[in-house]
Amino acid sequence: MVATETRSPGIRFVSCGFDTTPVAFGLRLERPRRVCVGVMGLLQSSPGEPQYIDLAEKTGFSFEQIAVLHKRFKQLSHNEETLRRDRFNEIPDLAFNPIRAQIIEAFFDRRNYRQNGQGAVDEIRFEEFVVVMSHFRPPSPHMTEEQREGVRREKLQFLFNMHDTDSDGTITLEEYRHVVEELLSRSGALGTEAAKSIADAAMLEVKSISVGDTKPDDFYEGIKFEDFLKLLNGFEIESRMSIRFLNMDATTLCK
């Protein structure tokens, strides 16, 4: 259950029990191999396709973690190459999540794949799946302050994108209201009015924090990303927005 992570495929590779050098490893990978699935298979499986190296470098996941995620991906997509929205909707545990729609949408949002992506896609491949997941990687304990800041920014950007549904770089009142509404939609009698008023109050607050004391008539179009950074300053986002990715396979337990 130890979620050790390493960015170096070579080390990881050796630890997998192969006595080949990373170069040889690269060569061997030319030969397409099927990724083994299953708990037992996982331990012996060498990570197959070359994309694993890229992916591991790109996302920082270890091969084991990628393998686990791949298995999950296959499970979700019913062994297809791509994943569509309705597959996400089939996840039973997710059904009760009030912000399900936003989360799922985040997986199909090009902004979350790379720096300047735009728009949404209809189906995603495994690569995008992992890239989106990588936003939730816990920060490594040996990070410099700048790296930490970078991770923080990147995580916040993800969060910001989730709120900013029309991707114009601003969370408007409507967008924010929508999130709050969804958020409270499961708490029974609270109704949409309360959600709206909360969103409004929050926006007022945001305004006073980000703009400072201004005249009440001033126009405030919404939360910019910079404001967003400022707002959540007190949050330890880099550790809060992280989940533990196991090297072990637990997919059999959750449907």
């Binding site: 996840i91 999540n97 008023s197 405030y220 989940i243």
Partner: protein, 832 residues
Amino acid sequence: MYRCGRVLLWLLGSVLLTRPAWGAPGEEALTQEAHLKLPESKSSLSRPENGSTAAGKPLMAIKWHHVQSPFIVVLWIFVAGLAKLVIEANHHVTSVIPESALLICFGFLLGGVVLGADGVQTFKLTPTVFFFYLLPQIILDTGYSMPNKLFFSNLGGILVYAVIGTCWNAATLGLSLWGCDKGGAMGEVHIGLLQYLLFGSLIAAVDPVAVIAVFEQVHVNEVLFIMVFGESLLNDGVTVVLFNVFDAFVTLGGENINAAEIFKGIFSFFVVAFGGSLVGFVFGILISLLTRCTKNIQIIEAGFVFVLGYLSYLTAEMLSLSAILSIVFCGICCQKYINANMDPDSVSTVRHAMKVFANGSETIIFVFLGISAIDKSIWVWNTGFILLTLLFVIVYRFIGTFLLTWILNRYRLVPIGFIDQVIMSYGGLRGAVAYGLAVLLDESKIKEKNLMISTTIIVVYFTVIFQGITMKPLVTWLNVKKASVSEKTLIEKVQNKVFDHMLVAIEDISGQIGHNYFRDKWNKFEEKWMMGLLMKSSVRKEQEPIFSVFHRLNMKDAMSYVTEGERKGSLEFIRNDNALVDFKNKFGDDFSEIMSDFMVSNKYDTLTNTRDPVPSVSLEIHEQTMKDNKGTENFNSHHLLEQNLYRGRKEHRHRYSRSHFDVNTDENEVQEIFQRTMRNRLESFKSAKTGVTPQTQQKDQQHKMPNGKSPDQIRSYYSGDEDFEFCEADSASGYDASGSSIPMRTTNRTRAGIENPAFMPDIDPRAPLEIPPWLADVDPDSVMAAPSQRGPVRLHRPAAAHVSARPTDSTQQSDEQLPTSAPPPYDRHRGL
């Protein structure tokens, strides 16, 4: 400040001086020592010479014996309280030396006085008093005010420290001391290995009382705090169990211990710990269930919490389970449900009473600890033993913490940093629990009991006083991350919620089973079963944490609104007798109490106001008059709000949740009253200010332009207009069906603003149903005007709205924009 301190000192001194005179006998009563040696001073004080009133019944008699023991107990508490008062009055001292250390020093003083007066220390902390009367309330308070989420999300770590850490401390300390003894470092000491282990187990535990007292003042970050604090709470249970096990072993004798006995010891540990927690859990549920149905005995419902909490402690003790764990878990389990079920007044009663009890007994415990040292009979000095114990206690604490943290960090998502580990190790303060256990030792079995007691006392003093004093500089020096001081903002709360759901969703999608997964499952379970069972249905929906912040914001708004309103006079209607009568007649019983408050506080206002013939809305003049009594006015309005708004909100929420199921007639009635009042208010304003009765806002404006009034008049007119606009905006909140009282208006306003049809393009803003009755009979123009006009004012904080320098401008703008059905973005966003 200084004078105050001196007076207190004098007071304390006088109490102190008189104390030894009557103190000694009562101390015996308290410590339950049998010998009833009555000091000579008593006769002069408490025995009236009956001879003087020889004839029949004395007119006045001092029956000291009669009240002796309770009197002494109360006096004792009083003195401890006074000591705390004096100590806390000197901030420059408490900022350097923690209060607990000062209290111990005060105990020295007191003990010296008692010893000097009595010749022998008759007054000490006995285990019975400590464990039965002083400890439970402290632990109950900590459980009750435990930050549950934080506690349970760190429970793994806490348990590791509390269980393994404590065992480690006990074992290493005992073994090392034994080794040193064998090596001859202590001279002649008759202590066997088992007895060393017993000693190790009693001194191993970090004491919650000492930890809270010190950590409360240094404000370290919350994870660090919960780690140290949670450990100190839970390891008490562990120590007591360890102590009992080793005590049994000592009784059994070394040669009789076999594998089965050891196994039994280990097994009993689990039974005691889990059994105790279970008892606490059951009692917690019992309290929650009970508070569901205490609606008719609200006045004593707060008492149930204490009684049942204590009962859970005693029950666990009776079943020889861990009483401390029991009462901790009792508090933890019930806090959420009783806070929701009970009347807010009762909740605050519970909160305050808890603090009073806990703080009081904490004070007493520390003073007791000080007094206990001033006793010739317990002091046995063995330099080697005492110094080595002190050394080992500190060294093994550090080693244990670092070792366990190293293991834990491999599994933790957020590792515990090096500096935090240092503070955790350094925060291993020993306290009264260790002392209480040491006193419990059986002298017939352990020859060196007194040595152990004195060593324990030394360790306690060293950790509480020395480490307590140095903790703060250390925290500053190491630059330990402090707890964020600022209160959580609404957006942060919302974001927290988003995080929770997002993380669990990602775990669901990625197929990981982690922390969030379990928390989500537990939340669902709780929502489904526990809430339904343990919580009143009426309050179940308000459990959203966001709401607390939201309501706080609303309160702030309301405050500034009324302050502003008072200043400008727009709250005229409160003073309007008609409106009041109207309210009073219709509001029915449940509001009569509030309204009477209202009336009383308004009488004064009305009086002052009627004296003033100038329309109160005239900004200039009014402000002048306000200058005189601004202070009182402000105070009044705040007082008014605090008294009434808060309660009103509760009612409002209650009604709100009810209204979701069915529209109840009661509410309609209330709404009607509200609307009528608003109309009254409107009318009174219209006639009072303009002299004409403006039918619509537009007409109003037309009036304004041609009228060649004197600047002064225009000024007042403008401000009147502004007020008019404001109150119109306000009255429009009657749209919203749930308004039911003056207090509710605040919440209402905000909600109405959000509901404002002008902001929602998809809903026809002029849907007939939405037109409030008092506007329905006016011509359509005004109906049109109302929502748009609200635009600019509505969503601002009321204070801001009032300061708005250009009321006419904005009105004009919105009027112009009226014909276009889609609301212009400008207006929409300006609402914010």
